[in-house]
Symmetry: C2
Subunit: 602 residues, 2 copies
């Protein structure tokens, strides 16, 4: 991998503009700017290709003349009806012929919905350099190593307060708070104007690592005059403030003080602050920590190496030494808060873990809230853990999780500081985006200056005006195994149908004179074949009749197949009220006569 | 249908025993009872076949000597991994040879998880009479008419305060509150003892229909001495009290007063009280009501006919008169609160409803909370409605729904009144049952007297003692189309696999001399066939090689099929990291020689 140190890279520390003391509104400075550059007619386009009207696959493109930068490159987990799909990424057709214009991929933080798409992106655009803070670059590197493409990629580590300059753009990295360390907001400038991009954020005045969101710098930027604010909407429907991450540490402390059992803490592997607080509580209460689960081991490794996690070697306990250690002296740190079937916690809950088992001597803390869609599987895990006798503390039953996203008051505070001319809510389902837009309106922003967009919409901006000027191709691409985009709606439709009622295959071989083998019926996922002999033999007879009535030597196979399909579907629906996929396969075998003729000709 | 009026049926009004004024504990009366019948050695068995460690398919059996009664007979909606299944009902193998002993099916109330299984039950046990209150019997009748088995079934309507006597049992019907009208609790007595069965309940001191749970009678029963309490655990993890249904009416009133738009209210068709409040608010604010959705029309029809819903004809508006009516004068009452794809609300949200469309002139009230597992689809519906411009009020955004189940304080109140000797929590996931058990413990009940059971466990009870004496066959039966139990785990496993990666079929026809047709490859739900020509032709060549290397005239087909399966699965996984179901079909065609020999023999 070609990593370049910030000092050697196109990254510099900003000359901070000092706002004049009497200057209270941004309008003045904006007017000044306009006066200074009256002939500036460059236009900037902001095009979200992912992250609007959804949670996940964040991907926003900023284009100005011949230069493009991209902010975040995430994946999304599949919806319930995307059968068999591993991940979803944005459709990047728009960039197809624009690879030479992309100056950089700027990543706000190291969550999968912001970095997960990078390996797939780099397959198409291998030369695009990546910019991020230290931990973010560390986690991306980890991912690229897994995909064996780390050696080909140029990575730039940017410190907070520094500006990364690429052709056409400057991007300043501003520290913010979120559920992962080293999260950045971006202040982006180009010929056409300026853009403040929050990424995921909350305002945590007592963060675990002491790195508070740089509200002063944000205020200063606001005074400089920001044209467009693009801001996270995840918690837009929640009133008030999100609590500090430290409140979770306080809950841990109470639990660790009172519990005379082994403690199992499940959380996201990337929740570095949460994990630090588990280590802190363990140290305080003289417990050893066992780390279980591949992603937890990986991320803790990277974060510790980069000094985002601080603990001594002697606090770690090897899993094989567990039997020798008293339960009261152990914390087991693991993943699986979403009830993922293959996670360590899930395997423990269902008694399928090779090395770890849960008993009444365990207190399990589920330190996360269910992602929408996972509520049922999380509830199932909790029930299973309780059946094994464990006590379980989870969202609602104790303060063991706080959100990584700010609520309404925090969103409003950012608006108040940035004082943007225009606003585009991002990152969230439609109702979150809309509520965020309403919040901006309630603060006095004109409805005309707020852009409620969809993925693919183009927001065009210059110093004079902003408008939605059209839209570009956008959509979703499925990742299934090693396939990128080789599964689409037809394949998914088949999978869905197969999942509902299974299938019935009818095979027959024909030569010039008629049936020489079959019809045979094979079914899967439809009925127990052994218990449905009558049904299947009736179906077989029906097919045989259809073939015999329609086949005259060189008949049109596809028409016979359609007739079989039609008749059989009707028959099966009448008998079972089900609609399995009916798949007739007619094979053609040449008659001996035909073969002899062939041979003579040959 | 043979309905019998309560007065002609084995139903009588109880002689109420008057508790002597000084009598405060139940122990005294229980002791008296024991003294009065010291030689009574009859045993009662309580066997839940559904409803424990789950929400749904409630089915509890009470057996005493040669007599059995059944309480409730519900369905459950399928889990996410039960592909294509319509409903789940309990496995009733235990009753297989006991049909002649079943004296009655006693139904607490008319929700699907209590009555939905009745048609399937009656297919096996057509002669069992059904007992319920008026509305419950009305809704069951409606269901049996749909299944065309209403004429064969004996139904007994029981009024509150009456006792239904069947051989071996007396069952007193006590009014309770729940989200459907006419819900009953049962006080059951037989030779071996007594049992208080709550069914679903809450304590609503201002119910919409004025029918308050009969706390006085429950207290009196407690003084008589109850051996076993079986009580609803749905809200066991929620502290405090559930709010009165009337609070929803108050919210309706505020909304109806302030909103100058058409109002759409979505709720469950069986939420009779909720529906009454919609009609009341409509009347108050001079709006007409349009009813949309088959189940809503059905249930409102039954409930109104039986006088559980009260409104005048002139408040109803026909859907075809909507265009002529001002939006501010209309309430649209519909179903679809769970985001069910075929519901009226869902079709409106996705713009697929033939007659109704949603615009910015609508306020949509979703008067229900998502059932666990439906959160995502409900959120999607809300977003779609908002995209159409509608305002949406839902759980969390306004007090437009209250639970039909009591919280901890209500559960404890029932315990305090019933004063049971033994307790079995029912109706709920494991963690709810366990929390309910802990509540009972916290009230001073001995852990030994609390039975945390699973479906199929047998609780054996006599006047002296209670214990879990064993277990009987229990489990689940899938309803898929018209099939009852013809789909099981193997079929579901196939459906799951098909849903993940689709399938690949290899067909070839062989005669004595070898391949005469194929191998051909057909795939569904795997990859786009057109874009994967190379992959599929390589797969085909692989199969051809396997067949040619392994076929020698009369080889063992199944061994060749296994080899094809093994080789092809490996090949496909290497190339795609997917595991489609590989289905080799080898057909045998007799050679002409063999045919001639056959003919000569014939």
């Amino acid at each position: 991998m070609k990593t370049e140190k910030a000092v050697n890279s196109p990254v510099q520390t900003p000359k901070k503009t000092k706002a004049s003391p009497g200057q209270t509104a941004s309008n003045k400075s904006r007017t000044d700017k306009k006066n200074n550059s009256p002939k500036n007619v460059a236009k900037m386009k902001i095009i979200p290709l992912g992250g609007l009207e959804e949670i996940g696959k964040n991907f926003t493109l900023v284009e100005c003349e011949d230069d493009i930068i991209i902010i975040d490159c995430g994946i999304k987990f599949p919806d319930i009806d995307m059968f068999g799909i591993d991940y979803v990424i944005p459709d990047l057709s728009y960039l197809e012929d624009k690879g030479h214009k992309i100056r950089g991929l700027f990543i706000t933080h190291g969550h999968e919905d912001h970095i997960g798409g990078i390996p797939y992106f780099l397959k198409k655009f291998p030369n695009v350099p990546i910019y991020g803070t230290k931990l973010t670059i560390g986690l991306i590197t980890n991912k690229l190593v897994e995909h064996r493409i780390d050696k080909k990629t140029t990575m730039h580590t940017v410190s907070f307060g520094q500006i990364a300059n690429v052709r056409g753009f400057s991007v300043e990295f501003i520290p913010t708070n979120h559920s992962i360390a080293d999260s950045a907001m971006f202040y982006i400038k180009n010929k056409a104007g300026s853009l403040f991009f929050t990424g995921d954020f909350k305002i945590d005045l007592t963060p675990v690592d002491g790195q508070i969101i740089d509200l002063a710098r944000i205020g200063q930027i606001g005074l400089e005059g920001v044209d467009l604010l693009v801001s996270d909407s995840t918690n837009a429907t929640r009133k008030g403030y999100t609590q500090s991450e430290k409140t979770v540490g306080e809950s841990f402390d109470v639990l660790f003080t009172n519990v005379k059992k082994r403690i199992v803490v499940a959380t996201f592997a990337t929740s570095i602050h949460r994990i630090q607080q588990v280590f802190d509580a363990a140290k305080q209460h003289r417990r050893k920590v066992v780390i279980s689960g591949r992603s937890m081991v990986n991320v803790v490794g990277v974060a510790r190496e980069l000094k985002y996690l601080k603990f001594k070697d002697n606090i770690l306990l090897d899993i094989k030494d567990l039997p020798k250690t008293h339960p009261e002296q152990v914390v087991l740190l693991t993943t699986g808060t979403q009830g993922e079937p293959m996670s360590a916690l899930s395997r423990m809950a269902y008694g399928e873990h090779r090395q770890l088992s849960i008993t009444e001597k365990d207190l399990v803390i589920i330190s996360a809230s269910p992602i929408p869609g996972n509520e049922k599987s999380v509830a199932n895990i909790i029930s299973e853990l309780m059946k094994l006798g464990a006590d379980v503390v989870y969202q609602g039953a104790g303060q063991v999780h706080v959100s990584g996203h700010g609520c309404q008051e925090e969103m409003k505070l950012i608006h108040a500081l940035v004082k943007p001319k225009y606003f585009m809510p991002c990152h969230g389902e439609y109702h979150m985006l809309r509520t965020h837009a309403q919040l901006a309106e309630s603060m006095g922003m004109s409805k005309n200056n707020i852009f409620l967009m969809q993925n693919g919409d183009v927001l065009q901006l210059d110093t004079e005006s902003a408008k939605i000027s059209g839209s570009v191709p956008s959509g979703i691409v499925f990742i299934d195994g090693t396939g990128i985009g080789d599964v689409g709606t037809i394949v998914l439709k088949d999978r869905k149908r197969l999942s509902q009622d299974g299938l019935l295959i009818i095979v027959a071989t024909l030569d010039d004179h008629g049936l020489i083998s079959g019809p045979d019926i094979v079914s899967r996922g439809f009925v127990y074949m052994r218990e449905s002999e009558k049904l299947l033999s009736d179906a077989k007879n029906l097919c045989e009749r259809v073939i015999k009535m329609n086949y005259f030597g060189y008949s049109d196979y596809s028409s016979i197949k359609n007739t079989i399909k039609f008749e059989l579907e009707r028959f099966l629906y009448d008998r079972t009220r089900r609609k399995p996929l009916v798949l007739p396969i007619l094979m053609s075998a040449k008659s001996n006569l035909a073969k002899q003729i062939d041979r003579m000709r040959g």
